[in-house]
Symmetry: C2
Subunit: 351 residues, 2 copies
């Protein structure tokens, strides 16, 4: 069907061994023969059969990635970062999506094992059992968990400094003069969510402000709609917040909608900060947001995979990923004395 090393050997008047040596640039090959073989490869359009290679060397050249299927663009960005790093290291990335709550992860893991992937990145909160990890370990497949701590199960992990990112953002808000800083966040179930939630509290406390539980809204999930409801709720309080910190951009977008419906402007009437920086730059106005430092995610994943490959017995390691605060001016400076910011209307606005 397709061109094989045998075809090349025949066309170049050499043996498969010699062709192999040319392809791998190893061993002794005379200049003359090397050229004949290279020409034949070029002329016939030979491409090495990866299946055969994988079978022989039990290295597929493929890194797997398992993500939870969701509307959250963050996972695709993370995946992107890994794609690039994998390719730079000579691998391709094969992504499988787990439908939430379908319990199909076991089959997906089996598929990865069958493909003999050279590494596996597990992104976000897929539900992998200890049994599956054991199977992966038996198959000698290095696993890296991203944004989800499986560290206690002996899995190498990438952990985002979410507590610091969250705390830092809140501190910035408070430093701008805000006293009533609300939180809109998903109900903390996953580690990520807990860390971001804790960061909010630490941020306030570290600035000498108490946490006002009335200003906290925990949503059932990440839908924009939940953000809108929470936002509307907060903004109709007798003493509404002057700033809202959201631990997800999608929620921030919802709060923005709520503000808009109330006729409030960001940042003049309400300061707003999102998280993940996946949507913020496209909103109007473009929002401040805490983003992950994507540049290091892919490379860290590959480093952990290579390290595990080199020494399967090494203790599980966690790499920390920094956050990056994108400042787009949606936190207004409030003077200490005045409770309301002076607002200047455009001519058009007043007709």
């Amino acid at each position: 069907m397709s061109v094989t090393m045998n075809d090349i050997a025949r066309a170049a008047g050499a043996s498969v061994s010699t062709v192999g040596r040319v392809i791998h640039n190893s061993g002794y090959v005379s200049r003359e023969v090397r050229e004949r073989v290279e020409q034949a490869i070029e002329r016939l359009g030979y491409v090495p059969n990866q299946s055969a290679r994988a079978l022989k060397s039990s290295r597929s050249g493929i890194i797997g990635s398992l993500v939870l299927q969701s509307a959250n663009g963050l996972y695709y960005r993370i995946n992107d970062s890994i794609i690039r790093a994998a390719r730079a290291a000579g691998y391709e990335l094969l992504t499988m999506e787990a439908q939430p709550g379908q319990g199909m992860e076991g089959h997906l893991i089996d598929s990865f094992i069958g493909l003999h992937v050279d590494g596996l990145a597990i992104i976000s909160n897929t539900s992998i059992t200890g049994e599956m990890f054991a199977k992966l370990r038996a198959a000698a497949i290095p696993v890296v968990a991203v944004e989800r701590g499986y560290l206690e199960m002996g899995v190498d992990s990438l952990v985002v400094r979410d507590l610091e990112g969250s705390r830092d953002a809140v501190q910035r808000i408070v430093r701008s003069g805000h006293k009533r800083v609300a939180l809109v966040a998903p109900r903390p179930a996953l580690d990520v969510e807990k860390r971001r939630y804790a960061g909010y509290r630490e941020g306030l406390e570290s600035m000498g402000l108490g946490v006002d539980e009335r200003l906290i809204r925990l949503t059932p999930g990440y839908d924009t709609q939940y953000g809108r409801i929470a936002g509307a709720d907060l903004l109709s309080l007798p003493e509404p917040p002057t700033a809202v910190f959201c631990t997800a951009d999608t929620l921030a977008a919802g709060v923005l909608q709520a503000a808009y419906q109330k006729g409030l402007r960001v940042p003049e009437d309400l300061s707003l900060v999102g998280y993940d920086d996946v949507l913020s730059q496209s909103l109007s106005p473009a929002l401040n947001s805490v983003g992950l430092f994507m540049g290091s995610i892919g490379p860290c994943v590959m480093e952990l995979i290579e390290a595990r490959r080199a020494d399967p017995e090494r203790p599980a390691e966690a790499r920390m990923i920094d956050t990056v605060y994108a400042d787009r001016g949606t936190v207004a400076v409030r003077s200490a004395r005045k409770e309301t910011v002076i607002r200047i209307y455009d001519e058009e606005e007043l007709l």
Copy 2:
């Protein structure tokens, strides 16, 4: 290293042939032996080696997809749709990203050939040459182009009814009473862009309105920033448009920012419609947008691949993908008599 059919055979006291028959549910196997084999498979955690299968049967079980690396979330959604359909058909999807203008597509195509993918989806405007298509054809790999017509090169294609989608959206705007409907679109280079652009013109003309060239803004690309600039430009015209149709959500987001900066409200002061529906539901307000009917993209891709595989000589076919208009109320109804919509201010807004 990992468990093979041989291990199962030994454990179950059978031969590899018998194990093979159990796995494939073909040929004669006694109930007793079948059970022994199945138990061994379960107990040892046997997973078929795909590399060996692929080598033997020259079917890898992998569909490739090639996308242009870009911030546009649309491609990921399309990819998602294909992932699901591929999986439903028993394949995995392996995605490679081409960096724009890097000319690395040749290498990527070679990688796909080396992997012996059973099909290849080319998404968006990657630059594939005739030579590459020839190589793919020689390797008997069915190719489907999505959102990019390579039909003239004899490649099966998925074409979105963009002209109709665009025209329909404009007609809806006009029917709501708008006379000055502006366009913000990337300079039409690709077929997609031309179709969407043409749809705008047809939409206006079909409603008996002339095209006012002063209301057309063509941007150098899809950045939100271009939308903002174009929007600011349009809104400062002596006779500004009452509605803006954008052929991309990212551009619409920019126009929204411009409107916001001018103190205009959507839809009360300005009606706004986006395209691709990838961002619209997260904006504030959530915008009307023309989306692709994702449900049919993946299945169509797989159908075309299977059809091509069944008959490599069949003439190239184009499948049409419908658009879906998402109405979120950002097109205001304008009465025929009055040129301006009565605007009601909230109390807060007037202090």
